[in-house]
Subunit: 448 residues, 4 copies
């Protein structure tokens, strides 16, 4: 096979595993979908088009099971002793076999995920070009599409103090170069978004940090990314992924509200959106639904890295999210706004380190896919029944229907005119029940 | 004594306690200052003028020691069976005796702190007028000044679902009225700031919450506050106090960065500043120094509610902050920016529920005052030695001194021009030590 | 009506609310059970006998909606201006009407919940006697039974530094007296357990705490409780409720494992069991399932205070638990051990402060009851399918089936003999997949 | 140089760094001790003998700066491409040069820290024998002593599901063998303790875990360790290091109280002690002082891994602890009990990943050593002044001095006799101030 050629379905890695099919809720087949029926219409749209699911390249194909306390555990035939060209090619073949067998429409990658180890920035640049050609061929052969690409600005030791926010201009310039290359590769591959995750854009201690310099550089270079996107005609969205800390003590992309503030400061709030991850929401003290609702309200909702942490440990465990109720609560914030546009649900999740078999990759994704589908069905039921929306509308009706509400929102209103009105009419209102438990019951009633 | 008259130093409540004096670090007198010597010059300014300390009215004079599990424990002669006019007057006399004996220049209050219980908004409005006259008389008599006033929009049951963000326009109108009245009272009293703390501006569940409506109303009414401030000629700053949650599940004023985003959205980022509280920083996952550094960098630094929580329990314990190192780390972020302008250090702190004696109020404040003074001396030493600032400057010097840095910050620079330059020069930089431990040692070296 | 007489169903408080009935999963009636069908057989036992549900007296009948930032919000006709005898009697009538309309078999109380305010310990003692007679009459009239009673050793200011662990012997003696009285009242009422929750048994600061004295006193007095239980012939279990902190900074009953250690230290591990609360599990860094599994494994499983917190805020919110998956995960740890013996599921949960209507009490309990029933059905399905248990058995089979496993567990085995055997046989085993995701999928498959 | 030979001070790695000396608080030399003057007498003992400080081998010599998001950053000449024999020998030479230059009396190690990579358990066993001989020679040559050794039962992939608690007897047997070998090596080297840290003794999910089996095996094998210690005449203490989670979701050695419960269950509470780490205390929701006070009270205090985390991030950052106040609070719990016996203060701390230079290792340790010494001086001052101890004694005096207290602690006392006495004497005590703030001020007053 010549260097540029790819192999598809020839000598499969996942032997004995057939494409995953929908078999309905009563199926006991652990490798079937019980809820994900991609062509089923939900709220007027195919399930597949609602969820736009993607497999991530890094956790599933690049991670060998190591953690901070121990070496890799996983049985992955494509993990050669080192990540040379042959290993990278084998990995890519396995990845597209996996995507295809799962039957999901998208994948996502970092530049270093799809390339062999590169000793220098020049090598990485060249290796990415070669990898992009191969990815294009695989996409063509399998129909799998690219949800988003991203540059890894955190693994190379040079990025220990950040990429775009590094104190050293040389390092920042390398970061810029990687982004330029990866944005162009993403464009070439028809990627529907380009993501920046501030892997180390933050600080470990304020004692050695010039906050103004770092934030200004971050804004400046982000503006350049947006400018370049337009220049090359990239149609996708530019996304930032909130995460409050880890690996850094503090990260500038703390949460959606913080990012919105930052974007406004640099006039980018119409150009950049967020890629929300439930586990990162947890780390920043928010629910998944809160982050979605906030991004929707601020007009910066982009895409979702679906996963979860657990609430007992304070780091990013990136587990497969099987919490149907929690996802449902997020979906009823998302769907009424029109749902995902160019975004999708990317499984930024990894099997536990003890789940060392190849099969475990399938179990994990099948469970994750089904939890999303089940949540979609549940959220659709809530929305179709409409009782929560109706309650909410009635609760705020005074702002549209009462004279006082209208006056308070009218053009001439002032602190004084409202206060005077309150005094003149002797306003002395009492509290009205918020009915939280009744509403929570309605959610449970619709849970599939 | 006629209704409008006040008493000063006549029949003192804190019998046997003399005005607190500075006696130096070697003093063993538990009711003397060991570090706070108000006229001592530090970095070219009197200690008193650096720290601008204030006693808060609520924790120290209104709280009776109750908590969610039990009734009041404290021995406070001004706590009559109910908070009627006589009780409120006795409380005010005790408060000014306390302020005076501590020798601190400022105090802070909520409208309901300084008034008797009011059955209606009308009564509150009238009671506040009377109280303001009395406060003015006490200020005149004692020389104690008002750091800030604020309206309590959270204790009355009507505010269960928020004040300015209440679903019911009638409740919001009452909130507006209280703010108008209290802002005017603050102005009358020469207050140097006016604070809004979103006591219940947030939500308990998204299921009954219209986020857009609440945020828009919040922005709208806040704009009216700013407008009214200018109209009445109030010279002080309008401040918002960040707090992520408690009592609400989520509060809109989550942290400084969130507030800055919100302010920009409504064009208020030049008009409104933040009142930072260490315990609230803790609840939002930040260090005290982080919140100060962020507010300074974003240009919204206002004032400080000095206190602390503990790191084991997740609610707002509002303890007196004796952590000199932690305060020092915040001060070295604050002082180089010019320090507090109209702001101050308000002791928004309460004695533990078990500290039930009158004396405990003095012990607590004396310890808190001294911790601030000691931190000021420590921070001044760090700043005067200048080693941390020098290290930091050198770390970022490439942005001003290297050709690459200058090019990256120059007008014509683009993603492409920087990436091309990195490629053309074969940039392949490595990491440089951030020297965190060495810098942390320098802090400890300067701790008094 | 003479003092000792009670009223039942005469002038109901919850007007217009009929007894709650089972209507099946398809019902849209918000005041019907959709899963709780008390006579339905599950794993060979009636649902009611599995779950043994109880309503708590305090949150539902004594709390007026106050929180640390504001006054009561709730509309409760039995809350007179003060809790005098008439108010206490009205409250009791309402409580039994509520229990009966819900159709749950049990309730739980603190001594101060069922009595009017008592100015002295003597009054409390007398008031409790009267209240117990009335409770007995209500139990007789309605068929509702007592799951457990407990003495409130935290609300009276005298208990600010603890009850049984108070530094002052006089306070500890008062605590002993209250326990004695309440244990005897519980016995009189046929209570199936007696609970001690260390409301303030802990410390706020080590600086004023003699840990040895407090722990030894705690053990000593707990032994006396056990002794007295046997003396008076009380047949129920003595339970301790773990909670790591709040209101105290640290509480001695931190979690189940800590309590087990404490019980062993005083030779009480056969005599005392635990009353586990999910929200307290959360506060101590554990999952609900963990606390159940630990208590079962240590042989101290007693009863459950069913509720939940949220994972964003760090205090005890005592919300109604609608997380069916989370409860199911706990039930599959509990049921195989034989389930609840004398214990039950007590709704130690309160409506949100904004849920101020009488109806909200019903919505909340109906939702909570149904979540438990749905979790029971889900857990039963997992247990009946048996796949998880089978996987687990196979994973540990080596300890019973292999020569090595048997040798390691045999009587003569030593560090040396095992190490020598490992060396002699050149043992060099590798890891086997733990299949976490596959098992998690099995749970989701059984969720109703 | 023949294989068994060692080199000392011959071709130093830390060139240009002289032995660290005490220069007093006024020194500005960043590589001098400002507080640690080892021969200074404090509370009747030399500083060195109080603190018994040790350098840890793993963080300082084995870790290359990698984290979960990126590769190693550190400049360490002994880190060859792989950890072969030459690299391991170079590392050992560097380690003893470092120990000696710091002038600290002790070090600590894991078996895999001091050996080259071993492909099999047999190789590890042999490599450890060789390494122990070399360590013995270094100890002899330098006078540095071994505080404790430990076996690494978490890095090899075979231990993914635990060591002693592994579901597979073969893996547990390998764990036993490693412990046997390492305990004997520790004995050979005159180690003063042997530590077991349950690196992966816990579970990731209850779904695949047999809690009874794992806990019973853990107890059983721990008993064998104790038995073997006595058999070989090892004089040191056996220690367990509490940690609540990380890497596992839950770890059995959660905290000191949990370990005490476990030890009692297996009759080991006199044989095994704890090795407390502040960062692990943080993770389990405790203060450092709490863990020390608990271990002292329960009689299981052993040794200390001194470090700290930060309170914002929820994982084990193992930072150098410069918080003098926090260490002081722990020392005033430790010193009155007699202080460390065979234990010491082991710097289980690592420089930040950005602190990549060799010099940073010195800065970090110098700062850590000085913080301990400064805390020792502070704690000694508190103890010598005696005011806190005196307050505490008075607070509990009623138990020894009052008739009621004596009666309650006397042999015949019962729930009934105490309750009757309380009733008969009409006890109605009130609360007495706990004076927390006054006591906290006393701590600050003594801080150096
Ligand atoms: Co992600
Ligand atoms: Co993540
Ligand atoms: Co405040
Ligand atoms: Co606060
Ligand atoms: Co409870
Ligand atoms: Co609770
Ligand atoms: Co350690
Ligand atoms: Co650690």
């Amino acid at each position: 096979m010549a260097d540029g050629e790819i192999k598809v379905d020839n000598d499969p890695v996942f032997k004995g595993i057939d494409p995953i099919k929908y078999e309905g809720p009563d199926s006991d087949n652990p490798l079937a979908y019980r809820y994900y029926d991609k062509d089923q219409m939900v709220l007027g749209k195919r399930m597949e088009d609602h969820l736009r699911m993607a497999v991530c390249y890094w956790h599933t194909f690049c991670w060998d099971g190591f953690d901070i306390f121990g070496a890799g555990t996983t049985d992955r035939p494509w993990h050669a002793a080192r990540n040379d060209r042959a290993a990278a090619d084998a990995k890519m073949a396995a990845a597209f076999e996996f995507f295809t067998k799962l039957g999901l429409p998208y994948y996502c990658f970092h530049d270093v995920d799809v390339t062999e180890d590169s000793a220098t920035p020049d090598e990485l640049s060249n290796n990415l070009k070669r990898a992009a050609d191969r990815l294009a061929a695989y996409q063509e052969a399998t129909g799998v599409k690219l949800l988003w690409g991203t540059a890894n600005l955190f693994s190379n030791p040079r990025f220990a103090a950040g990429g775009l926010t590094n104190p050293n201009p040389e390092v920042a310039a390398c970061a810029v170069r990687q982004i330029r290359d990866c944005l162009e590769a993403t464009n070439q591959l028809g990627g529907e978004n380009y993501v920046l995750w501030g892997g180390r854009e933050g600080y470990d201690t304020l004692l050695n940090t010039n906050l103004d310099r770092e934030l200004n550089n971050f804004g400046r270079f982000l503006s350049m990314v947006v400018e370049h996107k337009h220049k090359i005609g990239f149609k996708g969205k530019i996304l930032i992924e909130p995460k409050p800390h880890e690996p850094m003590y503090h990260q500038y992309d703390f949460d959606s509200a913080t990012i919105h503030g930052f974007l406004q400061h640099f006039g980018l709030e119409k150009e950049v959106h967020v890629n929300i991850e439930p586990n990162h929401a947890t780390l920043s003290g928010h629910s998944f639904a809160h982050e979605i609702a906030t991004a929707v309200s601020l007009g910066i909702m982009g895409s979702i890295d679906i996963n979860c942490g657990n609430y007992q440990n304070g780091w990013d465990t990136d587990q497969f999210n099987l919490d149907v109720r929690d996802i449902t609560l997020a979906l009823i914030e998302l769907l009424p706004s029109g749902g995902l546009d160019t975004g999708g649900f990317n499984f930024d999740a990894k099997v536990r380190r003890q789940s060392s078999d190849l099969d475990d990759l399938f179990y994990a994704h099948v469970g994750g896919v089904d939890a999303l589908a089940r949540a979609l069905l549940s959220a659709a039921d809530i929305i179709e029944k409409g009782e929560i929306a109706k309650f909410k509308a009635a609760r705020y009706a005074g702002w549209e229907s009462s004279d006082l509400g209208k006056m308070m929102l009218s053009d001439g209103a002032s602190l004084e005119s409202i206060a005077d009105k309150a005094a003149a009419t002797g306003l002395n209102p009492s509290h009205t029940s918020g009915r939280q438990e009744m509403l929570e019951n309605l959610v449970n009633r619709s849970l599939k």
